[in-house]
Amino acid sequence: MVAPRTGYQVRLRVYEGPLDLLLDLIQHNQLDIHDIPIAEITAQYMAALSAMARLDLDVASEFLVMAATLMAIKARLLLPRPAERPPDGEWEAGPDPREELARRLEEYRRVKAAAEALSRRRAAWSLRYFRPGVPGQPAGEPPGPGGEVSVADLVAAFRDVLARAGPDLPREIYRDPVPLRRQLAAVLRRLRASRHGLPFGALFRPDADRHEVVVTFLALLELTRQGRVTVQQALPFAEIWVYLRRAGDCPGRPAAGPPASRAAGGHGGGER
């Protein structure tokens, strides 16, 4: 979960962050990263921060954290070393408190160098031009799936993903959404079994939920579009009837419709 942190994303005019600012101060003063005069750098750093504040640049919290770090290092350097070392030598060879900072600065400096190297590389490469649509700019039709992906791959992927999801899927998802394909077959089957077509309403299971009703309706539309079924209505507001179209049927003349349907069927009801 990523919380939006707008105040955090402030782009200072010049500096990418506290390390960038520090590095700039170090380079500007021609200092050695591994031997930073902390008191001086801290003073300059704080001055830079207040300059940013004066310019009304929102000083991001990272800059403040670094300020605190610098102060802490400075304080530790100022602390007098104990005159007598404890017998266990605990104070001996204590790490230079500046070491960690130097390591981070050195690392960041390398990143900056790498970024510049990439940038130069890109500039050189951009002197080359390619055939239109190259590289990576889709020209015209979207590229489709690519490679040789078959329906079988698709089915296998679906099975895999369901198997992997296991039983603890959210309920809402497990509820079978009644695939259109199944509903297509169902509608066809029921029409085949009925000799005279079916009233529209009879295609829906009495306890069908909204989703199933929608899919059944979509199935009906699809079958109509495919010309496998005709839908007719004798009069406005009258019952709508659905007929299976058999091979050789005249469009709009169901093989065995009730007389009522013929009345309105002269113009080829469901045919287009």
Binding site: Y129, F130, R131, P132, G133, P138, A139, E141, P142, P143, G144, P145, G146, G147, E148, V149, S150, V151, A152, D153, L154, V155, A157, F158, R159, D160, V161, L162, R164, A165, L169, P170, E172, I173, D176, P177, V178, P179, L180, R181, R182, Q183, L184, A185, A186, V187, R189, R190, A193, S194, L198, P199, G201, A202, R205, A219, E222, Q226
Partner: protein, 192 residues
């Protein structure tokens, strides 16, 4: 052709680079202007390129079409290119993209959170791939908190997988007819 029609040494290269990057035939006058050539110089350069492309070791040639010049492959290589399916062949779909596509195909219309719940991972990137490749598209929004975008497959999807319509999608679970396979079993008796 006047005696002043001498060609600078890189003339052919410049002409070639221009034509190589053109998206449509370029009129000779425009070419001449772009290259700073006289009409005569352009003719010389065109002839020069033609000569360079003449040999059988060259795969491309200069063609004149629609009042302009362009580069194209030689007809002799058509069979080879056709075999290569030169309709741009993108990299095959990643596993993540294929799974995401399968979920969209079978569950459409489906919102991203549901896809992610099923796959158990963030699906932003595969969804984008599929949208970019024209295999899926937003088909609406679910009337639910946040009104998430619903995705469905496209006609390009059907074409790509050789399906006439969505009803052609094979049953993902052929062995066991699910618990509510109702309509398949119901006899005709249901007629009101």
């Amino acid at each position: 052709m006047s005696g002043g029609d001498r060609l600078p040494p890189e003339a052919l290269g410049a002409l070639e680079a221009l034509l190589f990057t053109a998206t449509e035939p370029v009129e000779p006058a425009r070419l001449a202007r772009a290259l700073g050539f006289t009409e005569g110089q352009l003719r010389l350069a065109v002839d020069g390129l033609r000569a360079r492309y003449a040999g059988e070791e060259s795969g491309i040639e200069l063609v004149e079409v629609a009042g302009g010049l362009m580069l194209g492959t030689k007809p002799a290589f058509a069979p080879l290119l056709e075999e290569m399916g030169r309709r741009r062949e993108p990299a095959p779909l990643s596993r993540a993209a294929l799974e995401t596509l399968a979920i969209v195909a079978y569950r459409q219309p489906v919102p991203r959170p549901e896809i992610e719940a099923i796959r158990g991972v963030n699906c932003e990137s595969p969804l984008r791939t599929l949208l970019d490749r024209g295999l899926i598209r937003p088909v609406g929004r679910r009337e639910a908190p946040g009104r998430p975008t619903l995705y469905g497959t496209t006609d390009a999807f059907l074409r790509a997988f050789g399906l006439r319509h969505l009803g052609d999608l094979p049953d993902p679970e052929p062995p066991s007819p699910g618990p509510d396979a109702w309509p398949l079993e119901t006899p005709a008796g249901a007629t009101s």
